[in-house]
Amino acid sequence: MTLPYALSRLLIYLVLSVGAIAMAFPFYWMLATSLKSPQEAQQARPIWVPERLKPANWRVAAQLGAAGGSPLWGGYQNGRSVTLRIFTDRMGPEPQVFIPTAVGAFSDPRAEGTQIRTRYQEDHWEITFTNASGESFRLLPAVVLLSKSYPSYRPELPPDAVRSSGDDWRLEWVNLAPGALGYVFHNYREAWLAAPFGRYFFNSFFTAGTQVLVGLLLAAMAAFALARIEFPGKNLVWLVILATLMIPGEVLLIPNYILLSRLEWINTYYALVVPWLASVFGIFLLRQFYLSLPRDLFDAARIDGASYWTQLVRIALPLSIPGLVTYGIFTFLGAYNALLWPLIVTDRPEMYTIQRGLQVFIGEAGSDYGALMAASTLAILPIVLGYFLAQRQFIQGVARSGIK
């Protein structure tokens, strides 16, 4: 239309975009860091695109991985040889190559069983690692000391760290036979193997799922009774529920913990689920829903001889699916994302939920930010995926909670 109009539109988009970038940036940063090597992560100037995200490197990683094991996940299997090429313009001092020994280990079987051969070909050094140890390994870490007298050098696979060491450059690889996926998702794999994340995920899904399914049933039953059935004592029940509404969560931490430990339920699924099965929020929400359904519907069913149970299952539940979904999403989110309660009632790793496991992992990982961000990404991944699949339900559900 007019210029001021176009200008105002532009301004709207500008403000919204700036906000959106601010909102999304931490996610990008988490993802980017999770794909970085420690040296890349710990730069004073941030690296926007990590080496592991560059397709040219994937090809090399796949080749190296195929030589040592599989092109996808790599490996360093018995009898295989992995050859790394380092391009230099001319021949110079021979690089020294070795396999770093784990700190505190008296010997490293990998280092002992590996035959390392270096030779110069046309324009590059060829370093061949041959596994003669009789065992197979997941990773092949390597260190190459290359003289600083070379004006330039380019290893086939970019090193994870380059350090200065006297007259040499010390090039370090955490894994020389990574395979394409093993290269890109190195941090994810290491984080996954560093703690029983599979178990954590199972615990989280199991407890959150139980809480949703049983909680939905209980809340729907109670809400239906409160909305549609006249029974003696109903006011009292309603009073109990209203009173519960006032209780803030902090008040319950201590007494419920004491109760659970008296029941010897600490470190069990009961402790994670049972205290939060009945939810006043769910009862309120669904009761509101059932009150809004036309009364005639139920009266007609009653005349046809349907029992209250049939009315609930056949009429009320199917009609209240949006409400059930809202409540289900909220409960699942709350249970899956909770840290405080799992922190209190579990202290054994096999009972940790994912958030509790992540919290412990954060304490242990120290400065390995790549692994830390990889673990964080894993922890939020299921919810984010679910969110992208069922955005409408998520957002409408939340919006519905606001208008009442």
Binding site: V251, I254, L259, V398
Partner: protein, 397 residues
């Protein structure tokens, strides 16, 4: 019925002291129940009461009792159903459907709250050793001699002051812009909402990394290498006014830099939720109002000021109440970003303090006293808020 409830509560209280008393309490309960039924002679109440008991039993993992009760009720119903009157049916089904939820609420919420109140009167209750009744001692220490509690309260206060108005204002701005028939509405909404659904544990880990003193992104952006955001206990007001020669101390120094960093993160986390709720509120405002205003020549700003803002007030009121209660529950991000509560406990929040007292120092009574005080404060604040703010809320009629 009320008498019954009190008895149940007493039984449970006793159960938590000596064990055998629960049986006695239960027996008493059943006895009084039966007596009440015989007295009032309303047989339809019987299954309801059995079910209520079963619900309580379920809460305490008395599986056999629950199964027995259910079987009993089933048998009763089966034998009884044909001759049940309409009213009896209603009361039977009403109780049958309501009992599990109510039983669980009683066992895990109502009774524990009262138990917390009782605990707060004891002297250093933990699992070791005998504790004795100490009256209001815990409260006296808490309110008059505990600087950490007041530190945590002060932090909660700043949290409310900083995040609630700012969050609502920002969210309203974003929501109004999104409501201007923006293309890519879905895209923007998705992005803004994303932080809210991510777990605070992971989000706090990311922000911790962003705030990193040496390699953090924020220090690179701001050009302040080495600034350790999360270990800076100086209050922001004190820092801001220091060049003027003013020296602010204690509460008036304001929230510490570290706590402000945590508040920014919390704001980021909650903003999407507020945007979505406000957007829903905006879409409830009839378009005709704006059309009428435009005919009268009202500017864009006037429309927002005199139509949007007042008609949005129920929503903003709801969000501010939520923000107030939420401030008392800030825990996860503080634990992850400053596990010990920060330098000089400058990022201590109420829930973290409660957690430390209860589960690190094993002083359940003192922690319960904190919880009770929080309960009272929240109650008082929400009531006050309703009284003061709600008068200014415009509800559409």
């Amino acid at each position: 019925m009320t008498v019954l409830l009190i008895l149940v509560r007493l039984a449970v209280m006793l159960e938590l002291l000596p064990h055998w008393a629960y049986g006695l309490g239960a027996a008493l309960l059943v006895g009084t129940t039966l007596e009440a039924i015989l007295r009032t002679f309303r047989p339809a109440l019987l299954p309801g009461l059995i079910l209520l008991l079963a619900g309580i039993g379920l809460g305490y993992n008395l599986a056999p009792a629950v199964v027995l009760a259910l079987v009993g009720v089933g048998a009763l119903y089966w034998a009884w159903a044909p001759q049940m009157s309409e009213r009896e049916q209603a009361s039977f089904w009403g109780w049958l459907l309501v009992w599990p939820a109510v039983g669980l609420l009683l066992v895990w919420q109502i009774i524990p709250s009262l138990y917390a109140l009782w605990l707060s009167f004891l002297d250093r209750f933990n699992f070791i050793g005998q504790s004795r009744f100490a009256g209001l001692l815990n409260y006296e220490i808490l309110l008059t001699r505990d600087p950490l509690f007041w530190k945590a309260m002060g932090n909660t206060f700043w949290f409310v002051i900083f995040t609630v108005p700012l969050g609502i204002l920002l969210a309203t701005l974003v929501a109004i812009l999104l409501n201007e028939r923006v293309r890519l509405l879905g895209f923007f909404r998705t992005l803004y909402f994303l932080p809210y659904i991510t777990a605070l544990t992971a989000a706090a880990a990311v922000w911790d990394w962003i705030y990193h003193p040496e390699f953090g992104f924020l220090n690179w952006v701001l050009g302040t290498p080495g600034l350790d955001w999360l270990s800076t206990p100086q209050g922001i007001f004190a820092l801001a006014l220091a060049p003027l020669g003013l020296e602010l101390r204690g509460f008036w120094a304001g929230p510490s830099v570290a706590f402000v960093a945590i508040m920014v993160m919390s704001l980021w986390h909650l903003l999407g939720y507020q945007v979505v709720v406000i957007l829903a509120g905006l879409q409830n405002i009839p378009k005709e109002y704006y059309e009428a205003a435009q005919l009268d020549g009202a500017s864009w700003w006037q429309q927002q000021r005199y139509i949007t803002w007042p008609l949005l007030s129920p929503t903003t009121f709801f969000l501010s109440t939520l923000g107030l209660i939420g401030a008392f529950q800030v825990f996860t991000q503080v634990l992850i970003m400053t596990p010990t509560g920060g330098v000089l406990q400058d990022t201590l929040t109420i829930t973290l303090y409660l957690y430390n007292k209860g589960f690190r120092d094993s002083d359940f009574s003192y922690a319960s006293a904190i919880a009770v005080v929080v309960f009272i404060v929240i109650l008082a604040l929400t009531v006050a808020q309703q009284r003061i703010l709600e008068r200014r809320v415009t509800y559409e009629t």
